[in-house]
Symmetry: C2
Subunit: 346 residues, 2 copies
Amino acid sequence: MMPVLSERQKRILLLVVREYIESGQPVASQTLVRRYHLEFSPATVRNEMAALSEMGYLRQPHTSAGRVPTEEGYRFFVTHLMNQVELPEELQHTITHQFYQSKADVDEWMQLAATILAHQTRAVSLVTAPHPEQVRFKHVELISTQGRQVLMVLVIEGGEVSQQVLALSEPVPQERLSQVAQRLNQSLRGLTLEAILNQPRRSDALEQDIFTLIVQDLRRIAEQPAGEVYFDGLTNVLESPEFIESEELRHALRLLEERTLLKNLLARTVEQSHIGGLQVIIGSDAGWEELRQCSMVLARYGVPGMLTGALGVLGPMRMSYARTIPTVRFMADLLSNLFNEQMSNL
Amino acid sequence: MMPVLSERQKRILLLVVREYIESGQPVASQTLVRRYHLEFSPATVRNEMAALSEMGYLRQPHTSAGRVPTEEGYRFFVTHLMNQVELPEELQHTITHQFYQSKADVDEWMQLAATILAHQTRAVSLVTAPHPEQVRFKHVELISTQGRQVLMVLVIEGGEVSQQVLALSEPVPQERLSQVAQRLNQSLRGLTLEAILNQPRRSDALEQDIFTLIVQDLRRIAEQPAGEVYFDGLTNVLESPEFIESEELRHALRLLEERTLLKNLLARTVEQSHIGGLQVIIGSDAGWEELRQCSMVLARYGVPGMLTGALGVLGPMRMSYARTIPTVRFMADLLSNLFNEQMSNL
DNA sequence: TTTAGCACTCAAAAGATTAGAGTGCTAAAA
DNA sequence: TTTTAGCACTCTAATCTTTTGAGTGCTAAA
């Protein structure tokens, strides 16, 4: 049963959260009245604060200190109090511009997205490369490099490219490789992994070898819950005072270097939210002990049903949601548009 | 004129540096005598320490504290006192094994090298992908993906691969693309950038367009001082006490996120040292204000005259050189061997 | 040349004092 | 009934003092 807040209580909660996010210091009744020219007295504010503490939205670090939002306080703020604004148009343009200026390369886009997110939000940014919902073969290329060594470039529908160097048992001329590649391209183009598994054995030994390798590689790709993880902005977090003090937050950063955990978290986002949808995960929401003091703002992007990825931001619970949320939303939309354009060959 | 140290002074300097690297605390005369069962008294040690301070190898944080090595002290330690050991054989095998197990993919090797270096040395590791001394065209592939969009895969001699998505002015069938690619391959294979610039214009418009893009891309690659930079182990540094205290070291980490600076530093290593050679850069040696309190151990690896990169470790000045140096050396040798094998198509 | 002995220094820990920011409560004012 | 002025009370953080002991440098004896 959710307690009902009076308008005035909401207003005060809003101001406390805002103020605390900005200053990092517990917020006192008097500060609030003075700074925001409230039409009632500090004593009134104190009464309301006491009520809000009672309801679990605020707490006091110690008896004679100001108030600090609780996890619940942040949640209420994000879901009911924050005014959802868009990113300033000018900024939108600047960012969009950067993407259209870079070469149309997924790797570059991801890196750019991570950098911009980190920079704009002053938190750690996370971006996964888009991943197809179903893996379909598109094209293979075999390039002889040195003697027995062959570079295999495998393209799957949606644009993901996998490179691999193979060592054959004996040197094979480029013409023969091209011929094999062409035969494979003809018979596999557009097929899903399942369909490919049902293909008959090849009579040509080399072709069969390559075929096996292709299947292996496709399987590897299909098994990954998400594409490569990009991140940026680690040093942003280092500046924040809560980071320097708390041992705990330093452990949280360890998580980032272990890419697997990260991947799972983002994969969950892909499952749980729809394209354009936004998830704000505050503290214990994450279900991850190490992230107890952190929050994440995550979104899914891509081409529904075809090619999707996740992106977002990880920062201290006391992050500027008002800035982070529009930024993450905008970035997700932007990437969605980019990939939509790329697929719909306008 | 370098002052001459007596054997006993050398011995004491050695012990002070070792002890300080291990404990992080200023080293007292008595500690040394007790811990290492010296056959002379603390007073004697104090006299020698005073001499070593006079010569600039040791200093005292304050009058009544033990001694701490100066930059010069570390340098003397590294160049004259440290016994250069190899990495334990077992560890060598474990590491080598990991490389031969991974698929023969440069990207994967680099990532693995960075991870292992960071893990073994508990510092930040840096690895640049190998970069050819001279860019030579090897192969181009054009793959139609969606409508007007084409994936161009450009392979240069040495194995570096560059992917790029192009948007043509109108859709072109795959056969035509293959044909163009084949013609380009025939006429450009093995040529350096200079040689390619002297080629006549193509009569075929599409071929000329692609040709221009290839030149652009080759130029871009040739201009880079080194390959992509990989790093790992940021969180290692976060644990060390000197990091938590000093604002300065936190700034040093900012450098890492600015990849360009890093690239320059590593490029310098490529210039200054020979394959297999090792550079130990202590404090102000780096010529970089932010790195005043750090040291780096860098090495060059690759195939001389063909394909070279740099790798190494960045940590606090008080890092375990005895552990770092053999690790960096071993890793450089290992990568050199890997690339040599890959090139000499055994 | 080495070392015991001792006076001296100084950082760090522990304790004591103070200041003041901020609260909760009560009782008066609106 | 709601708001607010007033005030006692609490508790942190800052400042200052004292104490402790680790460690030195110097001197003079071994």
